[in-house]
């Protein structure tokens, strides 16, 4: 078997960092990363970005050496991605926070509201319903993270955990403060009964979980799941997947819908603001996903919009 030598240079300084002289041609990038870590243990594989060109895209872990356009000695450029933390850890932390924090406010733990309200309970049904909805939503997300999602990259940069947790925990606390406040004003019966919007909200969440990328038929892809064969996602017998007829990312559509439902149900401005911020971010993601679908599939259904049917 002919072995190929591989040299690894720093993408910024072009300094030669490592020379591997006996790499098998069918070795994958993942194996090369492991070899590189042996000489530079501070750069564990998740932190390494190897590419063919200093300014080019990162090579995937599954890429095989001999299939790459390299000469007799392969030259790879290395960039340090910075300290990494696993997706699972980040997701679990950022979702467990809101679940716990909301309950602190719901049970009116001391030092949040005035002392005379400690451990009291609201007399409004909608407040209890809201707690159930909110808690169910985050429990669902935690379970998805643990048992359903498959991640294409195992890690993300460390500072993301601080950014993401601040966002989720901050908003959860802000919303929970008002909904569970002793002076909370529930929506009037004229607008819509709490039950109706609550039901709308719950449905939205259920629908969202069913259409989330992980539960799509195999071979489809979502923002987090990468599988070997990529096919256009299509509706199935499951009625919740019918939104695929109109939208590329129905999981985001349902998510936005359910938060808007929650906002209407609780009549709480911070919830509406949270929905708006979430909607903005999800639209950016959906548009990106939509664009990559269009690029990848010639016969992509023209009627579909990224996130809002016919509009956005």
């Amino acid at each position: 078997m002919r072995h190929s030598p591989v040299e690894i240079l720093d993408a910024k300084t072009r300094e030669k960092l490592c020379f591997l002289d006996k790499v098998e041609p069918h070795a994958t990038i993942a194996e090369i990363k492991n070899l590189f870590t042996k000489t530079h243990p501070q750069w564990y594989p998740a932190r390494q970005s190897l590419r063919l060109d200093p300014k080019g895209k990162s090579l995937k872990d599954e890429d095989v050496l001999q299939k790459l356009p390299v000469g007799t000695t392969a030259t790879l450029y290395f960039r340090d991605l910075g300290a990494q933390i696993s997706w699972v850890t980040v997701f679990l932390t950022e979702y467990a926070g809101p679940l716990f924090i909301y309950l602190l406010f719901y049970f009116r733990v001391p030092f949040i509201y005035g002392h005379k309200y400690d451990f009291t309970s609201s007399r409004h049904t909608v407040v209890h319903l809201a707690c159930i909805c909110h808690s169910f939503h985050y429990i669902k997300r935690l379970l998805e993270t643990l048992f359903v999602h498959r991640f294409s990259h195992g890690t993300m940069p460390l500072r993301n955990i601080f950014k993401n947790c601040t966002y989720y925990w901050g908003f959860a606390a802000w919303m929970a403060y008002y909904i569970n406040h002793p002076l909370y004003t529930p929506p009037s019966n004229l607008r819509s009964s709490a039950g109706e919007t609550g039901a709308r909200h719950l449905c939205g969440k259920e629908a969202g979980s069913v259409t989330s990328p992980s539960t799509w038929p195999c071979g489809t892809c979502g923002p987090l799941v990468r599988s070997k064969t990529r096919k256009i996602p299509y509706p199935t017998k499951n009625p919740f997947t019918w939104l695929f007829l109109l939208v590329s990312c129905p999981n985001y559509t349902y998510e936005v819908g359910s938060w808007i439902g929650f906002a209407i149900m609780t009549q709480c401005l911070p919830v509406a603001l949270f929905s708006l911020v979430g909607f903005t971010q999800m639209t950016i993601w959906a548009k990106g996903k939509h664009r990559s679908y269009l690029k990848e599939f010639r016969d992509y259904p023209p009627l579909r919009m990224p996130i809002i049917p016919f509009l956005l």
Binding site: Y178, I179, H181, L183, Y184, T185, T266, Q267, C268, L269, P270
Partner: protein, 157 residues
Amino acid sequence: GIVPSSVVLTSFQVMSRVFLIWAVTHSVKEVQSEDSVLLFVIAWTITEIIRYSFYTFSLLNHLPYLIKWARYTLFIVLYPMGVSGELLTIYAALPFVRQAGLYSISLPNKYNFSFDYYAFLILIMISYIPIFPQLYFHMIHQRRKILSHTEEHKKFE
């Protein structure tokens, strides 16, 4: 696009100035006769005259060393002066904001939302503590870089 300054830093500065003028000085009339207002207005005025001359001359490719020197040296005094004026003005406005309940909304209300402008202003004042040193030392760093660069050019001539 026209000058090489960072959009983020500059818009941050513009927003903070607009905030000082409209949301503090204009909104709280009692504060308008304070000396601190005079302090930051003078600091801003001098800074801006120098800064815009700097940009103009740079674009015309004829920058007198004096303007460059002034831009990267006078801030050492003007910046703290401006910040002091700003902080003192906000501080002076606080009791009037509290008394009038300015820009504040309290529970209960049908939007289930509350905002305390008094607390917000205090948070703004606290935010000066991490932000001011960063911007100040950034300018000092720029000064060292740009003025020593000119020195070297002069040596080669």
